[in-house]
């Protein structure tokens, strides 16, 4: 019997892992042309490790998708000795930083898969994935993610942030409420670019996940943790500042997030169909708070893109949506700006119908996800309009109502699912 198998880990990376050996803590850092930010992020990670875990065996693993700006060299070139002047940081042991390449044309999932594989091979007890784009990462974040896992036995730690008003509209209008309604866990950031996870969860997910569809693996890990009844908590990190995204970024983001959520529903059906209502997830420090300031959004452009999308994609929507829903969307698309409203109930039904159509692959699944983009923009327009003058508390109340709408209409999802 031939058990030979192609490995996605290079020999050079394997050699580096052998040299690192078993670790207690693993920090994964996927990158691609992040030279501008990566230096300070790596220094912050090292500082966080030395402050919070001076005795633990730790490694920073950079998986780089073909940077041409020297990002990997920056990751491995930063030494804790550079931080020592003026600080009280001392390292008891070697703090490793290693780097490997992944196919720049491959989906983001290969980087995460590499990190998970490293976690398993190095028998890491606690892991954290860090974003190379976070502009305000703090050393305390490491402890916020790792302490619950390393010392308290949690398997997944997702962040909560203090967000500016209207930051994270996809999270507030879809990912959070739908995940909460379907899986029954009030997890504020089910899709995070930085989060902590246990080696146990990493190993389990690495073996079970369908890696041929790598997009959104981070979200699928979260969903797998909820579905698998792993111990989950949230840690409050404070303000979230990240790179501004252009309108063109929406579809890839939908693919990674909504696509991952929809594709997870199928194997998890037995789990989520038995769930009703939702349970709180324990949170370290502040539950949620709103930062000062509001994200500037071009509302006019949002509505235009919605209207154009509904008109141009009618034939696509006919395959995805039930006639009543499509008719209602077309009615809204004809409304002027003052009268425009994409109500919560219609939005939830739209999302659930998309999810069911995704399952049935009524058309190419990628096209289904792409078709969501204009509808999400329409919903975003309404959410912004409704909450333009809302206080932080009011905004929370409105968000809670939306979540309850997702929960109330969950039977509709189940009905659509089985049609």
């Amino acid at each position: 019997m031939n058990l030979a198998e192609e490995s996605f880990l290079t020999d050079d990376f394997l050699r580096q892992l052998i040299n690192v050996g078993e670790v207690d803590i693993l920090v994964g850092l996927p990158t691609r042309n992040n030279a501008k930010t990566i230096g300070s992020i790596v220094s912050t990670i090292q500082s966080g490790l030395l402050r919070g875990f001076p005795r633990e065996r730790a490694v920073i693993i950079n998986v780089d998708a073909g940077s041409r700006d020297g990002t990997p060299e920056l990751v491995t070139g930063i030494s804790i000795d550079d931080m020592r002047p003026g600080s009280n940081l001392n390292a008891l042991r070697t703090l490793h930083s290693i780097t490997t390449d992944c196919d720049q044309n491959a989906e983001h999932g290969i980087a995460f898969r590499t990190i998970l594989a490293a976690a398993e091979l190095l028998r890491a007890k606690a892991c954290v994935l860090m974003s190379p784009e976070s502009a305000n990462v703090k050393p305390e974040w490491l402890a916020a993610f790792l302490v619950p896992i390393y010392r308290d036995g949690f398997d997944l730690v997702t962040p909560t942030y203090c967000r500016q008003k209207f930051d994270g509209l996809l999270m507030t209008n879809l990912l959070y409420p739908m995940t909460r309604a379907v899986y029954g866990a009030k997890l504020r950031e089910p899709y995070a670019t930085e989060f902590g996870f246990s080696g146990r969860l990493a190993t389990q997910f690495l073996a079970q996940n369908r890696w041929e569809d790598g997009a959104g693996a981070e979200l699928r890990l979260t969903l797998a943790a909820i579905a698998g009844k792993y111990r989950i908590c949230q840690s409050y990190l404070g303000e979230k500042i990240h790179r501004e995204r252009s309108a063109a970024d929406l579809v890839p983001v939908l693919r990674e997030t909504v696509g991952a959520l929809f594709s997870a529903l199928e194997p998890d059906f037995a789990v989520w169909s038995a769930v009703s209502g939702s349970d709180a997830v324990s949170t370290n420090e502040a539950e949620h708070e709103e930062c000062q300031g509001s994200l500037r959004v071009n509302r006019k452009r949002l509505r235009e893109m919605f209207t154009n999308g509904v008109n141009e994609l009618e034939s696509v929507f006919q395959s995805i949506l039930v006639p009543n829903t499509l008719a209602e969307l077309q009615r809204i698309a004809r409304l002027g700006e003052e009268d425009f409203e994409y109500p919560a109930e219609l939005w939830v039904k739209t999302v659930y119908e998309f999810a069911a159509s995704y399952r049935k692959s009524v058309i190419n699944r990628d096209h289904i996800i792409q078709a969501m983009a204009p509808l999400f923009r329409g919903r975003a327009f309404t959410f912004i309009t409704e909450n333009r003058n809302a206080s932080g508390t009011d905004l929370e109340t409105n968000l809670e109502n939306l979540c309850l709408e997702f929960e109330r209409l969950k039977p509709y999802l189940q009905q659509m699912w089985s049609v």
Binding site: R15, Q16, I18, N19, V20, G21, E22, P54, R55, R57, N90, A91, L92, R93, T94, H96
Partner: protein, 546 residues
Amino acid sequence: MPINRDALWYKDAVIYQVHVRTFCDSNGDGIGDFQGLEQKLDYVRELGANAIWLMPFFPSPLRDDGYDIADYHSVHPSYGTLDDFRKLLASAHDRGIRIIIELVANHTSDQHPWFQESRSSRDNPRRDWYVWSDTDNPYDGARIIFLDTEKSNWAWDPISKAFYWHRFFSHQPDLNYDNPAVREQMWEVMKYWLEMGVDGFRLDAVPYLVEREGTNCENLPETHAVLKELRRKMDESFPGRMLLAEANQWPADLRPYFGDSDEFHMAFHFPLMPRMFMGLKLEDRKPITEILQQTPQIPPTCQWSLFLRNHDELTLEMVTDLERDYMYDTYAESKTMRLNLGIRRRLAPLLSNDRRRIELMNGMLMSLPGTPIIYYGDEIGMGDNINLGDRNGVRTPMQWNGGVNAGFSAAPQERLYAPLIQDPVYGYPAVNVLSQKASEHSLLNWMKSIISVRASTAVFGRGSIEFLYPANHRILAYVRRLDKEAVLVVNNLSSSAQAVELDLRGYKGSIPIEMFGRNMFPRVGELPYLLTLGAYQFYWFRLRRI
């Protein structure tokens, strides 16, 4: 075996540290003595040690195990007579073993006649032999060393109604080295023993000889001047003798004690020792390579003195707070194991009696640059008794056999100066010289073997060191070189098997010959040299060019 006449003999030495009291009792009074030690010289020789460092044997009230000397010109009657000492000296020399004795120069016992005179009146000629003050304010920049027992470096003397200065216990007043008469007297003491034939002195507590206001009263230039003066006098009259400094300091502060080859021949490398234990527990070479990188070059005629354990606590003064906490938590979980800023335990218990770790630590001791010192009993894996106070738990009688009193003494057991180790793991029925001599694979025989291999080349005592930094941080690897001879040392600090690739291109063409079994390994080429090592395993390879 003739004595090594080389002026740099201390570089090739393996030193055996022993207290006369602890080793062998010849007259059945329960206390070890010179005659007993003389009877055991062949044991020391067979072990492979070629020098003995004798801890203080002078008349003393013994409130600090003899480091409180009451008379520098005699021996404590419990240990025998001066003639007994002379006989021991001659017998040792006959066997090629040199004798290094203690010179506790910083302070005396408060029972010393000098102090008795000094305190007797403010007009006494010896009043100024010690450091007196009407207040306890001066020199407040000096730290307190024995934190667990002393609250101040000043003690009130009710007789002379003044404070006297002491850096250690309050019953150990510091001598005043600003007084030329004290310096001259200390040289007289040295001359007395050198004329008798001792081969060197281990100078105790040397950083503290002189005090100056506004300083921490350690490592002062005036102290170095005193030491240089003693060295000059010794070299002039007694060439070939050796001075060893006990200065528990950071490497950069230790360097001046070597001077320009005009102060000490040797100095203990205190900061290295705890880092060897730390590296082993962390399974990471970083603490060891880091401190050795910080260690300055010393003059070619000088030498570091290395040790794993000694009669004192495993001192943690020269580590950071983070490192000290780690050492306490990992090596002294019970608070009773802690003393001052250290851990009062022997080697074997510290290493959980793990033979592999004991061997690895001794392997590093024998192969890192310096002269190794073996603390008596550690060569057989003796245990300690943490129920005894102060540092007495690591100063129990030597365990020669499993018979009466471990073969140490014929006295009734209750008269022994200290109780024997009797626990099931380390007690003398289980751990003793006789049984280990009879067992081919005992620790004792292994120690003889490694000392013998070390002695087969001068490279360990005199060679340079070049660290290799393989990517596997669990591996501590270095090449020791002397002229054309090169020895590759590879230590696995990990509790698991490890693979390591070494960059040996600089030795391309060499054939590594493993020094214990003398087996050849594949020739070194261009490619990284791959080795696998079992848990805590180490290799010594002679790199032969044939």
